[in-house]
Symmetry: C2
Subunit: 349 residues, 2 copies
DNA sequence: CTGAAAGCGCTAACAG
DNA sequence: CTGTTAGCGCTTTCAG
């Protein structure tokens, strides 16, 4: 019998990972002491510490995060959801955030909503259930402001890249008006006076700001756009809008696009219609995605500092977690103009 | 004072989420019963169930995953690490896996190692500490086989896309030899006989398989390649290797690239040297990333079914979690050739 | 069909 | 400096 029992205990020990109790027993100290040498929360006699350390090594002991989370009330995990991870700009955002968060000891639960509101909701809920310490979210198009606002009541949330209407919490944005102004400046300096705008979803806050930056900047030069259209931030939409422009009487000498993907659609149409870019029409993008420099002609565009935005969001989130009652912070990061081959002087005449 | 205290209690109540005990009290039943109506583990009188449900609603009660994980011994969370999330093919892999996993109720802890072995190790460790139920990993270049093998002793691991030497566990791969063969077939059928290979890291298992597929297929036609070079899977490396080819005496009429990004580098050099593609040299890629169809000329390439691979990996992982002792599974998924503008008949002469 | 109580592995008072 | 002990929120026997 006794043999049987010890055998069972042994097997059990082999299967289940060692617990803090096992370590305590082996080191001949109390669990409290083990806990303290592990967390360094209170001083421990060097000799004891050594014994504990040795026991930890020998047993290959690893503290259970789950148990720790339960007692500490923090999971050291944060959630992040973005609209479309296949779009490299969101990947960069993720990388930036992840890097910073890893430095603070946080792991990230990730979800790509693919611009599906239901999916976004499910991720938010799933992460909340798992009691993340906070969340970074780049909201999907048309996301319900109330959902995010409610979430913010429960846990720290920082919005990045896009805002929901009425959002009163922390946020990191790119200086879209400013950036679009850069593109306009560039074009105007090249002598363009008829500049069209091809944009994405108007209910995406960034699109609104880009549009504003566009018209306001133009106005400052005493100019007005012969064409402003909106669609979705996709290549197909870029194609559609470009075709619409060509069959209109707007006759722009340049087209500003709300993002690079849109611009690629525009370029594709120009290519297919054999319209020379930039000879006949100049085109600008926005975001500076990796492939902006690869298309022909290489795209003149404005960078969106996504990595930096991810890092900033992480920083804001950590602040919020550490100091829940501070007033909300707002960070805006500026991008810069990258001049490539898709823009040149306005065709004379 | 009394006022002060009650106020504080109220605030506290507002802060701390309700526990199962709160629900039990409110419904006038025991916590055990509440637990059972929630999990449906044993039958409960309809009336009781109703009372509990009502209490849950009124309190807005949500079970704590952390506590549940502790007692159930499963976190319903899996880890996933890939070498470079900015590369869209890995994004697709993630999406595919995530989708399937979400259906089973799993959330995913994510990490992009950016091909940094130390970073990869840290992610693996971080996820293990958080006691994920399993992991899906697309290993970084040069990753230590022992690390993964050891991890597999502790928790279910499935490798995807790339293998470590000697890996004996579950894995999902793409049929690289086959796919590269497709590209070779295509080129040979177009009359090409001098086909060069531009490849990435040789220690990446997929690169090896692509290379093999390339040379073997060529051999089957009685052909031999005038040029085979290796570098990294980046545009820059593609540029370098292309330049090397041009200044050699290999004089290929076609260049097979180990992936699309490499091919874009090659295209860029051809463009800069004003060498006509496909007129003078045909170029093929591999992966069919989103932008393969956008560059000029549009890239002929072989699809790598990354989404499907992600889904398959998820399926394998779930199987392994549910049945830890089954023999290891291996899944290989085939891609297909997509003919676009970067290939044409070999220049006569 | 339901309640009581013993943990899950760890932390954090509270005593020495 | 160290040990004891009461939880954290939930699941799950074991008794009714």
């Amino acid at each position: 019998m006794a043999h049987n029992v010890s055998e069972r205990l042994q097997r059990k020990a082999a299967q289940k990972p060692p617990t803090i109790t096992d370590v305590a027993k082996r080191a001949g100290v109390s669990v409290g002491t083990v806990s303290h040498v592990l967390s360094g929360a209170r001083s421990v006699a060097p000799a004891t510490r050594r014994r504990v350390d040795r026991a930890v090594k020998e047993l290959g002991y690893r503290p259970s995060f789950t148990a720790r989370s339960l007692t500490r009330g923090r999971t050291m995990t944060v959630g992040m959801v973005v609209p479309d991870i296949v779009n490299p700009i969101f990947s960069q955002l993720l990388e930036g955030a992840e890097d910073a968060l890893a430095d603070w000891g946080y792991a990230v639960l990730f979800g790509s909503s693919e611009n599906d509101l239901e999916k976004e909701r499910r991720y938010l809920e799933s992460f909340r259930e798992r009691q993340v310490d906070g969340m970074i979210v780049d909201v999907a198009t048309g996301s319900d402001p109330a959902v995010l606002a409610a979430l913010r009541e429960e846990i720290p949330v920082v919005l990045v890249d896009r805002l929901t209407p009425g959002w009163a919490g922390d946020a990191v944005l790119s200086a879209d008006e400013f950036g679009m102004g850069l593109a306009v400046d560039h074009l105007v300096q090249l002598g363009h006076a008829r500049i069209a705008l091809v944009n994405g979803e108007p209910d995406v806050s960034g699109a609104q700001r880009r549009r504003q930056g566009f018209t306001q900047r133009l106005a400052r030069y005493g100019l007005e756009s012969p064409w402003v259209s909106e669609g979705t931030f996709t290549m197909d939409s870029g194609r559609d809008q470009a075709r619409a422009i060509l069959s209109s009487d707007a006759e722009p000498t340049a087209i500003c696009c709300g993002n690079d993907v849109l611009a690629m659609g525009v370029l594709a149409v120009m290519h297919e219609r054999e319209i020379d870019v930039p000879g006949t029409i100049s085109v600008t993008g926005y975001d500076d995605i990796e492939f902006a420099g690869v298309v022909t002609p290489a795209l003149t565009t404005v960078t969106q500092p996504m990595r930096a935005m991810g890092t900033a969001a992480a920083r804001l989130l950590k602040q919020r977690i550490d100091e829940p009652d501070e007033p909300a912070n707002n960070v805006t990061l500026k991008g810069e103009l990258i001049v490539r081959g898709s823009t040149s002087s306005a065709a004379s005449g």
